[in-house]
Symmetry: D2
Subunit: 306 residues, 4 copies
């Protein structure tokens, strides 16, 4: 389903070249004065990427103006559902006509066709990265609420990987067994298009943790963010935060659309070379940190207010 979270729940909707993308946030506490400037800045991070040059980013130009439909009175949250839309103004659906009956490699075209018997072929439709704009809006609100509790996010990226650190998370967030904080974060991260790998902790490679690395040893009289000498567990023990910074890594693949065109599949299984078309990122990695933070904030806040 198109919802994430139980107590702070985001539902997103919208196709890339339909009238709008948007979202409904249910469970947002009442009495919060929304910081619209912060939301705008977060959307700019998503649109332009976190690095200076922004080389290879999408040439699609969207103002990403957020239109609020409900849940606010005089700028303050009412405790009722916050809903918003971002209109798709720079649409050129005709660019995609040639893809109506073809499936691109590395995209969701084939699986949507098989699952639904129909798909919106224009710019990826529902599977487009454009849907993540709604997550960034909800994430900005979650981050604002968390920031007021002293919780801050910082993320860096290099190559295909993104490392995210969350400081100030109190002890006790997360649940044993299934709804562990790390399990919810993994779930959230793999909901981001192109996610390929996820790992916890401050080691460079959680797949190759040596025996000496484990466990993190206690610091004498340590508490909160001084609890342990190392943080290989990434701030989570038994699925529950221990007061140390939450640290995790996410690996992504590059955009599957190649600059020199691609070989597509028709419904009879035949292959067809298609020249470049539409507008796509050559490298979307710099745009991902704000989405990683948004989903982490939503997952964390959802567990925090349970």
């Amino acid at each position: 389903m198109n919802s994430f979270g139980n107590q702070f729940r985001l539902t997103t909707f919208g196709e890339s070249h339909g009238p709008a993308v948007g979202g409904v946030i249910d469970g947002c506490p009442a009495g919060i004065v929304i910081d619209h400037t912060f939301i705008t800045n977060e959307l700019r991070r998503r649109r332009e990427g976190d690095n200076a040059t922004s080389q290879g980013l999408t040439p699609r130009l969207e103002a990403d103006h957020v239109e609020w439909l409900s849940g606010l009175m005089e700028g303050t949250t009412l405790g009722t559902p916050l809903s918003f839309i971002i209109k798709n103004s720079d649409c050129r659906p005709e660019d995609y006509e040639s893809l109506r009956d073809l499936c691109r490699p590395g995209h969701a075209d084939y699986t949507y066709n098989e699952k639904y018997g129909i798909r919106d072929h224009r710019g990826g439709g529902r599977a487009s990265g454009r849907e993540t704009a709604a997550r960034v809006v909800a994430g900005a609100i979650a981050k604002q609420i968390l920031h007021d509790k002293g919780i801050t996010f910082r993320s860096t990226h290099h190559d295909h990987e993104v490392c995210c650190t969350i400081n100030g998370v109190p002890t006790g967030v997360g649940n044993p067994i299934f709804d562990r904080l790390n399990a919810r974060l993994a779930y959230a991260m793999f909901s981001i298009p192109s996610a390929m790998a996820f790992a916890m902790g401050d080691t460079p490679d959680a797949f190759r943790l040596s025996q000496q690395d484990y466990p993190d040893q206690w610091r004498e009289h340590g508490i909160g963010n001084t609890l342990t000498l190392t943080n290989h567990c990434g701030g989570i023990q038994g699925g529950i935060s221990n007061g140390m910074p939450i640290i995790f890594h996410v690996g992504f693949h590059l955009p599957p659309t190649q600059p020199d065109g691609m070989v597509c599949r028709s419904s009879d299984g035949g292959l067809h070379h298609v020249a470049p078309h539409g507008r796509h990122d050559n490298n979307h990695i710099p745009r991902l940190p704000v989405i990683v933070e948004a989903m982490a904030a939503i997952a964390l806040l959802d567990l925090l207010i349970t």
Copy 2:
């Protein structure tokens, strides 16, 4: 909460040294003749590990006898909740008395204390790996149902990593956006104690996927498990299975209990060296494949019967 799944839902209960561990399976289809021999074998894999020597495994001896309480009539499922218990017969709670007021490093002792203000200190209580016995029982039933649909599991382990392949998954399993098959698998895998990393695909290192690797190219007239030339996406596109084998990797840390004792934390933050006590695995990795498969089977079946 202590449940996983929406349509095929497992709820587990039980502490390591309480009367029993067990589970309730809700949503199991009616009319299935349960294969008790298979369940017994799966529990043996969990108890003894997948390799021949079983070096370093837990010296705790449990018969793991599954006692069925409901949901079956004359061996056949009724469509009502299947519930079962496995009694904890080989308990020695007195072994753990010295840990009542101490928190071991790398365990959930500290976080349970902080979250609940109380914890069962005997053998890890709820956080013990013994809870996974209930998952293996439910997983065995899920695998039996999936096997009847032509879906099979195979997993290998080396060092701390476990690679799992699921063959025969039809196209169309999983949902776009949040409840992607890969996101549900990541969620399921990180619910396993000691999971540290998760990655999709047939490449050795999903964190370092090179640009040439992506995307998987179509095979001419390919379909099902011949759809693409490579399987770097691990059989999932846009969160939905594409008919290729589902391939993923999970990384685990070694058991935090060290053979030469450990330095524990008292409630005032002081440190105390504690000699080895109770019974623990030196290396639990060989016991994990059956748990990985169980959780994968539960996650997959849950999406398949939605």
Copy 3:
């Protein structure tokens, strides 16, 4: 939360005098050509009521134009979330300024204030009956899907009560124990503002069912809608439909706003007489059948496609 249903899930949003009310429908099957004329007619039933004279209905004039934002391509559902808004065009928030600090009797003003510490005082805000427009839209789609399966709705009203009959429901819809079809219907009906009572069956008063009435006796070789001689159980046995028509009754109270004004409560507990203001129904009962049918259709379809 502001969602109803698990597999066919409606989330509504919007305040009476905010920019819009609307909804997101998740889980609607793909490939359905939406009948917009039917939706428009259902909204007219909600606006004008089911009887000829429409005496006492709200003088608020809203075109109730449904604007679709997602989930459709060329008029056909994609399987992705259907979202829509109905703009609030005929707003006069200034009419309500005098109510900002007062709580009307029989309304949700006091409880919203106590729960959230803030409320939208303009025309009832979120608690306004206007929110039900979104339910009618979703209900119309559910009814269209059910109609294609041969399931039809008929409802009548007299005094404060509405009797609803659903024909063509196949045997086997609903679940034992908690998610019984009658329990889900009761849940759905009590989510309608001003619902006071709910009863199952074809008897005039389910509170006074005599001993001879029970049980419904089998008709020889009866099946489907000829299964039993009477239908006191309203087509549901053990929480599961038996093929007979589903029959239930809902009782509502009249609108609490009185034509000659009302005595309101200020935050210090003092009482204040307030002259009539804003626009309200004198009798909203004729407008309710379409809402009852909408919620019944959503509840039924949700269980049917599980």
Copy 4:
């Protein structure tokens, strides 16, 4: 599914003549010393009924001994799942052999057969009232927790109706729109076998509320349980508790099994007279108040701790 509640969630399992009935309670707060005597007394109320003579009650004799499997250490809740079983000791499955291929009137036999293709015909199987023993155990724990917050339950019964009053519920419990407190109560009550009608408020007949009855007028400087002059709304406005007592009524049908036998349906639709068999209540109404209170307590606590 066989679960009720989101934050305080009960899952029940078990057939009437299987090894046991039982339940898992997830979300029970840690640190509560369970009052086993109270649970025993509540189970006695369920077994013997609330009136002195207990005329017509089931001749089945069950000690209803509750065996706790998890979630407790030294009598105190751990915050982990509480699970318990009540063994079915006085089983006589052979009494029911003649019903294996017949469906009784007014029971769930036919619908279970149609839905699952199989049913446990012994004493009603899963659909037996015996399942409610698990609800009474969970309800007793919920009532104990609520009692510590000053919330108390009182219920009376006459004819087929049960009136329940809950005192001390603070203002603000329940959610607008769908998860209203009254909607959750209606849902909970209709999950009780043989429920036929539900109504809110202190009026004798909520289906016939006259125009003068509505709304409840404010009492000057009233607050909490003195808020309004009347309580026709039953303590709930806009789905949220207002501090007045919660009052509701539930109507039940009598047990469908008749003392002089019954006419059953075979799978070919033929009718067969069956002499009395097994053991059944002639009148189960006196046994219902404790079940009504249990479900109300579970529904209320679930909303209260959200």
